[in-house]
Amino acid sequence: MMLAGCRVLDLTTERGLLCGQILADLGADVIKIEPPGGSPVRSLPPFFKDQPGPERSIYWWSYNRNKRGITLDLETEEGRAILRRLAAKAEFVIESDNPGDLGRRGLAYPDLREHNPAMVYVSITPFGQDGPKAAYTDSDLIIMAAGGTLILYGDEDRAPIRMSVPQAYLHACVDAAAAALIAYYARLNSGLGQHVDVAAQESVGLAAQSTPLSAPIHGAETKRMAGGAKMGPIRIPLVWRARDGQVSCVFLFGSALGPFTRKLMDYIYGQGECDQATHGKDWIAFGDMLLSGKEPMSEYERMQGVLAEFLRKRTKSELFEIAREHNLLIAPVATIDDVLQNPQFIAREYWQRVENHEAGGSILYPGPFARFGATPVAFRRRPPAVGEHNREIFCGELGMSDRDLAELARKRII
């Protein structure tokens, strides 16, 4: 495995769990460190069969596989001393507390670097380690608002809306994993670690598709629109009604996208569902003609009506078959249940069955985020139970005795 032999201490809160899981998927030995009694994430719903319990949180299950887990009370000096011993030998530390929180406990980057200058220390925060908004309180919605994406989501006649499943910190976590590996690559040359500072605000900004640049370059503003976007004066629908639900379909112009529209209109014409003049438009130049007024906007709206009629008459699966056969840009809008049934993911054996005692069986997880020819991602472990690897780590690695362990447990340090 690519990161075999790399030790990661995962101190993250609910914000940062995915980062460590990615490194774990790549073969690193990731140790999730939880307070005695278990991480607060374990009390976050939804729960398996909707029954709360520290081993039943689906939130916890989602982003802790392939990790080992220990408990350690970092509020006590004894707990912190144990963490420093572990950190002295770790390649990575990942944390997602508010800026300064770990510093108050003597566990900030400068504190741990003293014992291990080669360490890569990754911090994931809402707005970054310092600056005028570093102390802001946040949530998924707040980050989406600050990052320039929320304004682009929703219906133009109503307030902007976010995605119904939180996304902000997932973007930040994958950036954090990429940054950690760049820093680790630097260490292979220099022997030195460094501090990686990831701000979720900047991470989610990527999903605004460069529209945050409109202001400084004096470009047209992009505005939200239900099922699409308005770029300057042109309305671009991406979601369309099919007979039994919805499809996403691209209906655009220009040298790159126009040819797809031409193929689509060829097909519609072939079915006798539009006239020759409509079908024969110059789809490459059409956008420029709209902007210059050579084609009126009402003509574009009429075209959209022709397409809408074509799509509405057919089911999602009929449209997808047509798209596959004729290389058209149409795909069904899937539900979560549809995704689990998608023949592509099944054929590629994407879903990974992970045993889960609480589930009384197994559950399918999203599989490898990429397929590596020489060093494939492996699914070695289900998410750890509270303190599951205490003995392995404290006795096996730090040389404590059973009595030491019992003493730490009595003092509620583990």
Binding site: L141, G154, D175, Y185, S190, D197, E202, A215
Partner: protein
């Protein structure tokens, strides 16, 4: 100045559109030499998509292309010409990694598939990224990130309960896949540096993106729960919403997770009765009566400046932020503090802006100094400086139309 971590890494980049070039942009930020192959006949579609500098639709003026390709070199090649193939193979010998983002059959058709390229460069890393992956019944289904996002379930998660789903903005998986692609490429580079072994990587953008839906995918199996769009409802926060502010299409987001947040919000609103109002006394009641609560907050916020509300609420510890437009982002004090916007010189536009790397490395920070390449701008640099071709050889390529 510290050496950039990837200064020895050479990447031959057959990427185009969004998801692929985003990966190599990250590599260029940290010092990799990235050479893009571009086609004059089939230009990168993002050159035709805005935002455009000064609203010009000149293909060199697209900030979307500019932002995704800053710091790279490029060479324009007509791959239908046999001699273009020789140039590509020399670039493969030069490179540590080849990255491509075509639909699966394209590289094979040119003879640039991993097996063929490995014969001339045994320790090559090759990353292929496409919508659905190199194998499987839908491998040939090509398109943009909106289609993958629809098939992954993202479209069905944005919307109002009383209307059909409206979907996320544009090509959502194109903003997830590049980060995972960068992770994959970095992992392979680390493995190669440690062992000398290269490898092939097949990234299905949909398979990467599904990691952002693990929670509903597991919940659906464990509890049979159905996921449909719920606008701004959130199970852990109440009130939780986007409220009108003074001005046209101006909004402020507010999210109260705790009773403290709620009480501080009431105090800021200067509505003394609200905190004690029996309809909103507990979290569960605030959740139950959220329609009425949203109306009351909206009435208060609608006359106020969104930034003012943000500052006022943050000052008392309530999660709040103006819903930022492009203009707000540009004026955002935090983004400026972090150097998010970077001005770079550009041969045609004079100067332009790109966004900085999205993370900060304390010892080896990103260096973003060059704009994206213009078509053909670096042809002689690549041929002369990187491949060591002499003047005669380069003029032959020009005469033969290979660089077209």
């Amino acid at each position: 100045m510290a050496e950039l971590p990837l200064k020895d890494v050479k990447i031959l980049d057959f990427m185009w559109v969004l998801a692929g070039p985003g990966i190599t942009r990250m590599m260029a930020d940290y010092g990799a030499t990235v050479v893009r192959i571009e086609s004059v006949q089939r230009t990168d579609p993002t050159r035709t998509v805005g935002p455009f500098q000064d609203n010009s639709t000149d293909p060199e003026y697209s900030a979307l292309f500019g932002n995704n390709n800053a710091g790279k070199y490029s060479i324009t090649l007509d791959l239908s010409k046999p001699r273009a193939r020789e140039v590509v193979l020399d670039l493969v010998r030069w490179a540590d990694a080849v990255c491509e983002a075509f639909s699966p059959k394209a590289m094979r058709a040119w003879g640039f598939d991993y097996e063929s390229l490995c014969k001339i460069k045994p320790d090559l890393i090759m990353l292929s990224t496409c919508l659905m992956g190199q194998t499987g019944p839908l491998s040939r289904f090509a398109g943009f990130g909106n289609l993958a996002a629809a098939m992954c379930g993202f479209y069905n998660l944005v919307g109002w309960p009383d209307r059909p789903p409206s979907g996320p903005f544009s090509a959502y998986t194109d903003y997830i896949a590049p980060r995972f692609g960068a992770v994959a490429l970095m992992a392979a580079l680390i493995h190669r540096k440690r062992t000398g072994q290269g490898q092939y990587i097949d990234q299905a953008q949909a398979e990467s993106a599904l990691h952002f839906l693990t929670l509903p995918l597991l919940d659906s199996q464990a509890n049979g729960r159905k996921y449909t769009p719920v606008a701004n409802y959130d199970p852990y926060h109440a009130p939780h919403g986007v409220y009108p502010a003074a001005g046209d299409d101006r909004w402020v987001a507010i999210a109260c997770r705790t009773d403290d947040h709620w009480r501080a919000l009431c105090a800021s609103m200067q509505q003394a009765g609200l905190a004690g109002d029996p309809r909103f006394k507990t979290f569960d009641l605030r959740q139950l009566n959220r329609a009425e609560l949203d109306r009351i907050i909206g009435e208060w916020s609608s006359g106020l400046d969104s930034h003012e509300t943000e500052r006022k609420l943050q000052a008392v510890g309530v999660p709040a932020h103006a819903v930022q437009t492009s203009d707000d982002m540009w004026k955002d004090a935090q983004l400026h503090y972090r150097g998010h916007y970077v001005q770079v010189p550009h041969d045609r536009m004079g100067r332009t802006y790109v966004e900085n790397s999205r993370f900060r490395l304390s010892a080896t920070p990103a260096r973003v100094e060059r704009a994206a390449p213009m078509l053909g701008q670096y042809n002689s640099f690549v041929l002369e400086k990187l491949l060591g071709y002499d003047e005669d050889r380069i003029s032959e390529l020009v005469v033969d139309g290979v660089l077209g």
